[in-house]
């Protein structure tokens, strides 16, 4: 079920209700072969400091040269976010000292980003059977910037090692408006954004490798305050925000936001104030802690990078990219509704995540769509949700699930038996046919065997037979007591009797 109403997320404190306001900054690594301003490789997992050019190491006299492929991916992403492409943009230097920042500045786009305002439709699927819904998130901007290297503090007690392989890798920073109103929505936003990036091919979305990570800005306010902010654009209606840095899992995003909102409420309700600061989430404790307070905030001394010319895009270049855009999740959703005859909800659930969509399409290929949707959406996703697993962690491959569905289609097993088979597949890792074979779960379609069962049950239960006749006489086309007989037959057959055959034989014997 898809509803248009967006539930309001309220947290109840000791002094009343609170609402949460969130905006996210997502850093997505561009899936390019070379870095943003150098020819060094971006390959993951290389020996430390092996993918480092003279430019990346900031050797004297080395100069950045823009990688056109990265510009193209940023534009592609901007178009995928239905955003304004700025034909003029510019690179600025963000100055600060750190050993993993060889130049002493990060080249970023501060004043003039390559992509301006856009919008993203987020699909939210609450747990516990609450209705799903969609809501829009404004995209403020997308800009290009360099990643820093990696400081490794645990290789030595008193020394820090630096790996510059990541130094200079191209990132897209995608900044949302503060349109996100619950921790679940925050995770759903990143999920949808990730699906779009993967569909576009501009980022591989691999969160484990840190190729997609989110900074979550969280503040709390009283009910009604957010609406005042929306009406006026005046941020003073909102609470002081804290930024939780560098989160690379949907679960952590949700947990961190939940914890952070409650922490802020606790502060406010005990007469303290929320300090604007940067915080880190510790997955082991489930808490956030101060990383940098406002007082320690750097003065980044942004200014235009004089080594680089402003980026001027040819409108034709943009149009060419627009013409080559692949199918995006929202378009896929509409296609699923038409092509597979799916409901908006089913189509939304399947297309919210590129991996899910790919999984579904594999299962549905050459099979009954209805069955495929039910088994993917209800049974498999239901199981995954219960176990807090992502589709990428699924214990059943699309091919294996397809094999199970094939057994239902050719009436080897009933849908009911199939559910048990699926759980056994998860437990054992065996194929559906192996399990059905080994456990003798093959459906009984032998009418003789079913007749014998029916005769036995009718003989043992004359009262129920009379009841069916009475209901028939009273004009009921489908006497309720018939269901009782079906249940009995199924029970006595160990669930293996073909329900359709049981129905037919019962109707004949009971003269219906």
């Amino acid at each position: 079920m898809l509803t248009e109403t967006r539930p309001s997320y309220r947290l109840t404190g000791s002094t009343g209700d609170w609402e949460v306001v969130m905006g996210l900054e997502v850093h997505a690594q561009i899936a390019s072969k070379a870095k943003l301003f150098s020819g060094a490789s971006t390959a993951y997992g290389a020996e430390p400091n092996s993918n480092v050019s003279l430019v990346d190491a900031a050797m004297p006299g080395m100069l950045p040269v823009i990688n056109r492929a990265c510009v193209e991916e940023a534009v592609r992403t901007g178009l995928g976010l239905k955003a304004k492409i700025n034909l003029y943009s510019r690179f600025d230097r963000k100055n600060y000292f750190y050993p993993d920042l060889p130049q002493g500045y990060q080249i970023s786009q501060f004043a003039h980003p390559i992509v301006g305002e856009g919008e993203l439709l987020v699909d939210v699927e609450p747990a516990h059977g609450e209705p799903s819904y969609q809501f829009p998130v404004g995209i403020e901007r997308l800009h290009l910037e360099q990643d820093a290297g990696k400081s490794i503090h645990d290789m030595s007690d008193d020394e820090t090692y630096v790996d510059l392989n990541r130094s200079g890798v191209a990132l897209m920073e995608i900044v949302s408006r503060p349109d996100i109103r619950s921790p679940l929505e925050a995770a759903a936003y990143v999920k949808k954004l990730r699906a779009i990036l993967i569909a576009l091919g501009s980022c591989d979305g691999d969160m484990e490798k840190g190729n997609l990570r989110a900074d979550v800005n969280v503040s709390v306010c009283r009910p009604g305050a957010y609406e005042k902010f929306k009406a006026t654009g005046d941020f003073s209606h909102l609470g002081t925000r804290c930024e939780i840095k560098n989160m690379n899992s949907f679960r952590f995003i949700q947990q961190a936001a939940e914890y952070e909102a409650l922490r802020q409420i606790e502060l406010l309700e005990t007469g303290q104030q929320v300090d604007q600061e940067t915080r880190l989430f510790d997955p082991n404790t489930g808490r956030t802690r101060t990383m940098r307070s406002k007082e320690d905030a750097h003065d980044y001394r942004y200014f235009p990078d004089p080594d680089l010319l402003p980026l001027r895009l040819d409108p034709d270049f943009v149009e060419k990219i627009r013409a080559s855009l692949p199918e995006l999740p929202d378009e896929k959703r509409i296609r699923y509704m038409h092509e597979y005859g799916l409901s908006a909800y089913d189509a939304g659930v399947l297309t919210a995540d590129a991996d899910r969509a790919a999984y579904f399409e594999e299962v549905a290929r050459g099979r009954d769509t209805r069955l495929a949707v039910n088994w993917v959406n209800q049974e498999l996703f239901g199981y995954l949700n219960k176990q807090s697993l992502e589709i990428t962690d699924t214990p059943i491959s699309a091919a294996a699930l397809g094999g199970l569905i094939d057994l239902i289609t050719d009436q080897t097993i009933s849908g009911k038996i199939a559910k048990d088979v699926m759980l056994k597949m998860i437990d054992t890792g065996k194929s559906a046919s192996d399990i059905v074979e080994a456990e003798g779960l093959k459906q009984v379609t032998d009418t003789g065997a079913i007749e014998t069962l029916v005769n036995e049950i009718m003989a043992a239960n004359p009262k129920q037979v009379a009841q069916v006749q009475a209901q028939k006489e009273a004009g009921h086309a489908k006497p309720k007591a018939l269901g009782w007989f079906v249940g009995q037959v199924m029970k006595n057959s160990g669930g293996k009797a073909n329900p359709q055959a049981v129905n037919e034989i019962l109707k004949e014997k009971l003269d219906l």
Binding site: L54, A57, A58, M59, P60, G61, M62, L63, P64, V65, I66, R93, N95, F97, P99, P102, Q103, G104, Y105, T160, V162, D299, R301, Y302, F303, D305, P306, D307, L308, L309
Partner: protein, 495 residues
Amino acid sequence: MSDLTRLSLTEALQGLDRKAFSSVELTEHFIAAIEAANPSLNAYILETPERALEMAKVSDTRRAKGEAGRLEGAPLGIKDLYCTKDVRTTACSNILGEFVPPYESTVTQNLWDQGAVMLGKLNMDEFAMGSSNETSRFGPVISPWRRKGGANAGLTPGGSSGGSAAAVAADLCLAATATDTGGSIRQPAAFTGTVGIKPTYGRASRYGIVAFASSLDQAGPIAKTVADCALLTEIMCSHDSRDSTSLNVETPDWTADVSRPVKGMRIGIPKEYRLDGMPDEIEALWQKGIGWLKDQGAEIVDVSLPHTKYALPVYYIVAPAEASSNLARYDGMRYGTRQLGSDLLHTYEQTRAAGFGKEVQRRLLIGTYVLSSGYYDAYYLRAQKVRQKILQDFRDVFQTVDALLTPATPSAAFAYGERSDDPVAMYLNDVFTVTANLAGLPGISVPAGLDNQGLPLGLQVIGKALDEAACFRVAGAIERAANFTTKPSAWWPSA
């Protein structure tokens, strides 16, 4: 045969061509001259005689095979701001320690590709920040020039390319590379009776040249004659995909422009370059220059560049701002010197306090300040706006004139210690030269006479963007008219 070192680059190339001498012979003369003179002048901070002889030998073989490049066998000096593969490069700063680049700058590569021979690395102000060469980690260069009659006080050859100018003036190389961010080629050329040009911004690649202020830095030569300068500029300039600000333009035949008559050219005389308290000799020299060009048939036009007075303050905001960021990479982490402190911050502080000299520190502080939040708009942003006005001034006057003639410096060379206690007085050295950097225009300094103490003075010709041709043409005319042949008397030991 010590006369070989006194040849101009063009003459030497002719001599090599007619086999009057070999590159090895020529190089040996320079090596001997450097060995004798350098302890007195301190122009070279690193001599590379073995490499020079090896390059000369290879060059002679190439020439014998008929594969001579345009600079085949010509021994040159290289400013220490240029990264030279396998040869220590320090920008004359302690912070770079004994840094040896594993790469070659595009400009020097262009020279080697045409057969040039490297004699060594030349002294300069630390990170090219200075106008007197006294901020070098290796100590000041002593100008080959001395005041007539007076005490033999050590004079500055100017800066930051002081080593380049002194080496050329003292015949310790045929010519030298230099760089110019606010006047660092033209002012030392003027102080030493040599010719130096800063090409249009983007003509020469900045790849492999230690950065001072990216939007102003430009490579160029210092040489003995305008023709030598033209030849070197042709070879040094090239489009380079490794420098995003490098211009993708053809390099014309500038050597041909040097002798082209100036008849019919319109030469602008900007009134704002007449400063209060400027020595009479400078004004007199300027008038002399105007007369020479008039005599050769050029039309003299009085023009105005109304924003000139803001150029120096704008320069001293923009250049330090860029430098404060460009020099952030010298953090003691990957190369150069490191002074270990108690923690990371302390290590940064110790390293940079010990590694950078006073003048560099002063500019880094100014640059950091003008980019700071709360000051950015008032300083950096405003300076950028005024920079646009200065550029517009030039665009306007170049609607009506072909080139501008100005003095190169507001005075002749000064003695060490005379100005070093007052940074602002020192900064005034650049008053006539910074405008061309801010506007990205080509500017050439050509020797035009001596002051009453016998020290050289230069005139500057500023051209339109990419019109180095006009600079060479007018400079050639001045060179012919001035007939400046005076050399410093060699008070230093000779070979």
